[in-house]
């Protein structure tokens, strides 16, 4: 098998086009509204400040700290959930480009991740600006080392998203399943609630990949240090994801066109 036949090669060689597709789609979603892409951010801010005071009281924690916790939690959740859920319709949605313009199907897994990154970046900056206006919130410093952390997650999500997009092209009832599972994960994952020592041992926390994806960048921002255990787990998942995605590509590359 040649190097140029691998999925990874196609990801890289189509990344420029993927960026253009991603940019066009981010703009496209809110093209006919006045606030445009700002809607992505507004919805985040509404959730943070809508839920924040009530939930801080329920959990009996400091409101300022809780604001930061759920803000980062929700931003990274949106990033992870958005990439996974949008992967379902990815190949199906772009089928005419794949069929008629012979654009490589790998392009759209990359564009999907880039799209999520663009939204994440905007949300991140906006939420920081909101924090700066609030005296009660001490926004933590951001180090540039957050970027390699997010890059690792982006790579993982691109490969996993590729697998999801292929499976949902083959089985059209897969996409509602993904949606339901992700809804479940929203409540199983410490996003609105925080981990206490007495629940840290729960298997559902220890083996929840969505938790790893959210906690790694969030923990790094809040504590200033990387959780090595989570990093290791994520690296292993990424590696497995790459191997499985490559195998899928190799096996189904010729057949997938008939699924569309």
């Amino acid at each position: 098998m040649k190097l140029s036949d691998t999925l990874t090669y196609s990801f890289i060689s189509n990344s420029k086009l993927a960026y253009k597709v991603a940019k066009a789609e981010v703009v496209a979603r809110y093209r006919r509204s006045f606030l445009g892409t700002l809607w992505y951010t507004i919805s985040t801010v509404v959730i943070v400040f809508g839920l924040g005071p009530l939930y801080a009281t329920i959990f009996n924690v400091d409101v300022g700290g809780y604001f930061i916790y759920i803000a980062f939690g929700i931003i990274f959740w949106n990033f992870v959930q958005g990439t996974i859920v949008e992967s379902c319709g990815n190949v199906i949605q772009h089928q005419s480009l794949i069929k008629d313009l012979s654009i490589h199907y790998a392009t759209f897994s990359v564009s999907n991740s880039i799209k999520s990154f663009l939204i994440l970046g905007q949300n991140f900056i906006a939420i920081y600006l909101v924090f700066l206006t609030q005296k009660s919130i001490a926004a933590p410093a951001v180090s540039v080392f957050i970027l390699p952390v997010l890059l690792l997650e982006g790579i993982l999500l691109t490969y996993v998203g590729f697998i999801i997009s292929l499976v949902s092209a083959r089985f059209r009832d897969f996409s509602p399943i993904v949606n339901i599972v992700m809804q479940l994960f929203f409540f199983l994952t410490p996003i609105l609630w925080q981990i206490r020592p007495d629940i840290a041992d729960y298997k559902i926390v220890q083996w929840n990949p969505i938790y790893f994806l959210i906690e790694l960048p969030r923990g790094y921002l809040l504590n200033g240090s990387i959780d090595v255990e989570i990093l290791t787990k994520l690296s292993v998942i990424t590696l497995v994801g790459v191997v499985v995605a490559e195998a899928f590509h190799r096996r189904y590359f010729k057949r997938f066109i008939f699924w569309l």
Binding site: L17, S96, I98, K99, L101, F171, R172, D173, W259
Partner: protein, 258 residues
């Protein structure tokens, strides 16, 4: 590298998914209850779309594909443009391919005409000064005035065709794949577009066109392949030159997709 298209005993079995007992739910149920008989078919239905098709085209060859509906003409074109991988046999296509099978693909109704041009050029990987030239030339040919900066969803279908047609014929290809002869726009524009299309085809080296219009095929093509149920039943190698008179006549004949 010389331009060529070569098929050697190409067969295509077209599997039909998402039909009958084909869903994830039914698959899982079948795994759980292997003996149940009412859970749909286990195997995927396959249509034998093409069977052992062979031909070779070199520079200057114009191939016409004829045959009744469902005989495999469009499928064969999609094998040539690389969409469908053959189930058996070998396909060799050397040269830059312009596939004019679905002109409207990739058109975003919310983008303006100009943005759509740029987006299509992105998809085709066209860079640098050529982009600017093509953009200007397409806008000039389309001749739709200020509409070029309005969203495409505002366009009438004729206006959209006036934009898409020059865009699809803006890059100089070696090999052109066409499904039906194109006739777009009002009478005035049709004349203009037929001239452009002829020019476009003259620059290309190989043409493969599927059509029901036998007169057009005979006048345009040097080789004619007749398909029926995916089988090649006749391959004629006439040396019929495309006569100017016949081409003129085509302008008046009702064309296919537009």
């Amino acid at each position: 590298m010389s331009v060529c298209v070569s098929l050697d005993k190409v067969s295509l079995n077209y599997p039909i998914y998402g039909y009958g007992g084909d869903s994830l739910k039914l698959r899982l149920l079948r795994m759980l209850f292997p003996k149940a008989s009412n859970l749909g078919a286990r195997s995927v239905n396959v249509v034998k779309a093409l069977r052992e098709i062979s031909f070779t085209l070199g520079p200057g060859d114009k191939l016409g594909l004829i045959g009744p509906n469902g005989s495999g003409k469009s499928t064969l074109l999609r094998v040539l443009n690389g969409t469908f991988p053959p189930s058996a046999g070998a396909v060799v296509v050397k040269g830059r391919v312009a596939s004019m099978l679905n002109l409207n693909c990739g058109v975003d109704a919310d983008l303006t005409g100009r943005q759509n041009i740029r987006q299509r050029l992105d998809y085709q990987g066209i860079k640098g000064s050529l982009r600017k030239n093509i953009e200007e030339e397409v806008i000039e040919f389309a001749d739709i005035g200020n509409f070029i900066d309005l969203p495409v969803r505002m366009y009438s279908s004729g206006m959209l065709a006036r934009l898409i047609f020059p865009l699809s014929t803006s890059v100089e290809p070696d090999i052109v794949l066409m499904d039906e002869w194109l006739a777009v726009g009002d009478a005035n524009f049709q004349e203009k577009s037929q001239g452009r299309l002829k020019n476009f085809l003259a620059k290309s080296s190989i043409l493969v066109i599927a059509s029901h219009n036998h007169v057009m095929i005979e006048s345009l093509c040097s080789k004619i392949l007749t398909l029926e149920h995916g089988v090649s039943i006749d391959f004629r190698e006439g040396k019929i030159e495309p006569k100017e008179a016949e081409l003129e006549r085509l302008q008046l004949s009702p064309g296919g997709a537009g």
